[in-house]
Symmetry: C2
Subunit: 436 residues, 2 copies
């Protein structure tokens, strides 16, 4: 089997055991990219020569860290010192930061090989969309704004990639591309060197092809207690089924996937309980939008002044507060979010983890509409860790996933639970095991 | 009179009226710097030639914005594309970012002339201290971490400068240097390109020599409603005297300055009411420390991995969570802060603005101890705008100020109130008016 089809953790084990070189793995990924990317268009920049040279160096030395020798894609709103960083914006073509973003630095210093930059919605916000197509059906979006990272991991072009989430930009593409994704607790990974949209929301996450892949990266970022929590017994787990206050936006494919996930858990002996969130949570999606747009004023002011007409109108609208967001609305949104954070965690008495939709359904057709973040925005604003798990495919043959959610800073426990829940939920996604 | 002694708003008026050129202003500041800075050591980098050339260009063209032709100092933990950015760290000597931080971009695009970079505590956090001395007495600290910006403005070397506050790094140096400072509402100025310490706390602010100076910069940053609120009648104002839960840490000089400020306001016909904050506020300084240190884990991880032994132990301690901050403590701190934000604003019924100490007393002796942030940390965590006003001098002849505080996003109202309160409070600071 071609190494590009291994999961990151399988590849890591083989590299550690001397059964695979980083160079062979990187070369295999590059071959896959060369074969597939002319259609998928996941990458804005690829540095094959540098990646192979780095892999060779890594093959000669002792392991640097958890990600030793593994390829990594970087969403192109995250700075890299040795590659252009365009934010997929016409006004930043050819821009080259002087320093890696903090998350890229941690990945490299943990042994990762940065393959290249993946396409994104402009500034991970609005304006220009990624050119990326959904690898499962090129007529559809891979989701956004982490479009290229989601598609590249989904298409087996790379094992790991960074995405970010301000609304639903990380977990929704995980669902649309049939892959695993972790959006860790807000604040637990440095955003330095990633384009800023919203202080209160922006969160860096990563994609992988298994729960182990997500845990591997989490260990590189030293998330609290990662590796220190044993996988629970499946039969002891209580999963809260949360259709969320936004269930009316679910599509048939999303509903079916959610029902399938519930049924599979039930069959596996997991206890399911229904979770209806209290009324204040109804306002959380509007609060997320208020905060995102309101904080966007400051985030795009310098670009609005600098680039004038060359900057997409979407960003002028934010800098000029076109929506007329008032201080009163901002304060109400911040305070509601704080109340709901506390209320959500207080609910964690009768269950261990929340299961909730990751997206309304399959990926929409076309490339402008990257999908609706209605099933993600609340969780982003709650600052809680969210883990996307593939589940099934919809009527158009496109993946539909679900997500599980834990209280703030319970990333390690979420990963431990995912390790036993994912094999039950994710039965249909083509899986290429090390022994295939 | 030398132009360097003008306030920024006085200089702006003269430039607008054709009575002063930007070049003459910049040259005057440079002369002052050359005479004074060998002792004060406020600047880590100064680009005289570039500043004069920029001023000349600005003198030839119509006004770019509110800051047209005015000199600006930039705390050296904020990126500048045309000057080194060292973060006052041995590991970043000679570092030169590819792009201006957002706040520097906004200043330049509003017509400011960036004179140079001012010294700071390493990464505006810990480790190495600034070499800067207090211009009023070289044996004392100018405060920190905005050491060089505070001293440069206080010493009449430059009219305006950026500082930042995570604990008390902006308002405390304002007090120690006898200058005005605004720490705006959290999130209302982009932090992109400023070294990150804490997501929930880091706030960019600016120093000036009058309330008008602060308002001028606030208008460049388009803070909500700036310029749209008329100055209130002094006799209609109700000021809440808040000694804060940390009053036991006040020093005699701080107590005297606070009493003087209260007495002056009373004499001027301002109504004073006592404000005792409810018990939960007692925990706010500890909560601020928990969040700062807890979020510092992620902020310094990449540097800890990259620089190893070359990085100051203080940052390894943060990355390694030496304090053993638990998720439970982080959550409790976040939730307490949210409660207190709401509770603080609910108090704003019986008064218009809060008057509270800006620092315990005069600037401490030496350069290692930059002073205690005990009278600042709570307000930073509350996300409210704080405005430092000079008041008097202590027994050692060093300045002692006070601060006024308003609810979140009430920056414009705070500036309008400061415009009438400051002339009453600030009687002793040597003031060089345009007509002097």
């Amino acid at each position: 089997m071609e190494p590009c089809f291994l999961t990151a953790s399988e590849a890591a084990t083989r590299i550690r055991d001397g059964k695979l070189t980083s160079e062979a793995l990187i070369r295999s990924c590059i071959e896959r990219i060369e074969a597939r990317d002319p259609q998928v268009k996941a990458w804005l920049h690829l540095d094959k020569g540098k990646a192979i040279a780095t892999a060779r160096e890594l093959d000669k030395r002792p392991a640097m860290g958890a990600l030793h020798g593994l390829p990594f894609g970087v969403k192109d709103m995250i700075d890299t010192a040795d590659m252009p960083t365009t934010y997929n914006s016409p006004v930043f073509q050819g821009y080259r930061p002087a320093r890696d973003a903090a998350c890229v630095g941690v990945a490299r210093l943990s042994g990762a090989v940065i393959l290249g930059k993946t396409d994104t919605v402009e500034f991970a916000s609005a304006g220009r969309r990624a050119a990326t197509r959904n690898p499962k059906n090129l007529a559809h979006t891979p989701g956004g704004s982490s479009s290229g990272s989601g598609a590249a991991v989904g298409d087996r072009q790379v094992q790991l990639a960074f995405g970010t989430q301000t609304g639903g930009s990380h977990i929704r593409p995980a669902s649309f591309n049939g892959i695993y994704g972790l959006k860790p607790t807000w604040g637990s990974v440095s955003r330095e060197g990633a384009k800023q949209y919203s202080n209160m929301l922006d969160t860096i996450g990563w994609y992988g092809r298994s729960v182990d892949d997500l845990a591997l990266v989490a260990s590189a970022f030293r998330l609290h207690d990662v590796g220190g929590i044993a996988a629970p017994e499946l039969s002891t787990l209580k999963v809260a089924i949360c259709r969320s206050p936004f269930w009316s936006k679910i599509e048939p494919a999303g509903e079916k996937a959610f029902d399938i996930a519930c049924e599979r858990l039930k069959q596996a002996g997991v206890t399911l309980v229904e979770l209806t969130l209290p009324a204040p949570f109804d306002g959380m999606v509007e609060a997320q939008n208020t905060i995102m747009m309101g904080e966007g004023r400051a985030s795009f002011l310098d670009a609005a002044l600098e680039f004038g007409d060359r900057l997409h109108q979407d960003f002028h609208d934010r800098a000029n507060n076109k929506l007329g967001i008032t201080p009163e609305k901002m304060i109400a949104a911040y305070d509601l979010a704080a109340d709901c954070r506390r209320a959500f965690e207080a609910l964690y008495v009768d269950f261990d983890v929340v299961l909730t939709p990751a997206a309304p359904g399959e990926a929409p057709e076309g490339s402008y509409n990257t999908g609706n973040h209605i099933f993600n925005a609340m969780w982003t604003l709650l600052h809680v860790p969210c883990l996307g798990i593939p589940c099934t495919t919809g009527p158009k043959g496109l993946p539909v996933g679900v997500q599980i959610v834990a209280p703030r800073f319970d990333d390690a426990r979420l990963l431990a639970m995912a390790a036993v829940l994912a094999p039950v939920i994710d039965l249909e996604t083509p899986h290429y095991s090390a022994d295939a």
